[in-house]
Symmetry: C2
């Protein structure tokens, strides 16, 4: 048996970050392109763009900054505020997952308690 | 902002317990009736029964035991093995949720670090 966990952050009941959204934004940071990031996650560009805009709206901060396209086309990069959020979320995710595994081990490693029938 | 978490347990890639399934089984324990528990969760009896059977199959242990119906109809109760699993899962859930909140506070309470531009 193993524990599984899904994490996300909300603000006023709206999602402002999740494991999946972190992956999308990290791919933008790595590739410099929202189009490339979308393709790697098998998302349409429109849908990926919509997800980023929704997060920006819910957070009230810009996450991506677009540089004008040169010969190779446009370029997207993470804003400093976005980078701070991604770094923190990644740290939160790591600690939370480790803590959940510890909680699981603590609770499930010990043998079943003897039960006294009433 | 607040952290949200969804937990479950898997065995060989199959779900053997989750927050939702714990709720269903606790309602059976409280009401003594799978039909009543299903109704409270707005599930059909058939679907609730299917969920319990699926868990039992995936776990390899019986979770519910049915007593023959007297004048008031049948009665379901949690087996001792099922009770042990529910108690442990509830403890795991409590610890895991507390740990995730602690991880969140640790990571997000501090102010944003100063960034040195490269």
């Amino acid at each position: 048996m193993q524990p599984r966990i899904k994490l996300w952050l909300e603000r006023d009941g709206r999602i402002v970050m999740s494991d999946y959204r972190l992956r999308l934004l990290r791919l933008v940071a790595d590739t410099g392109s929202l189009a490339d990031a979308a393709e790697r996650l098998d998302l349409s560009y429109r849908r990926a763009w919509g997800k980023v805009k929704e997060l920006e709206r819910n957070l009230g901060i810009p996450l991506l900054r677009s540089a004008p396209g040169g010969p190779g086309g446009g370029h997207s990069e993470i804003t400093p505020e976005g980078r701070d959020l991604l770094d923190r979320y990644a740290a939160f995710q790591r600690r939370a997952e480790a803590a959940v595994h510890t909680a699981y081990d603590d609770v499930f490693a010990s043998p079943a308690p003897r039960r006294t029938e009433a």
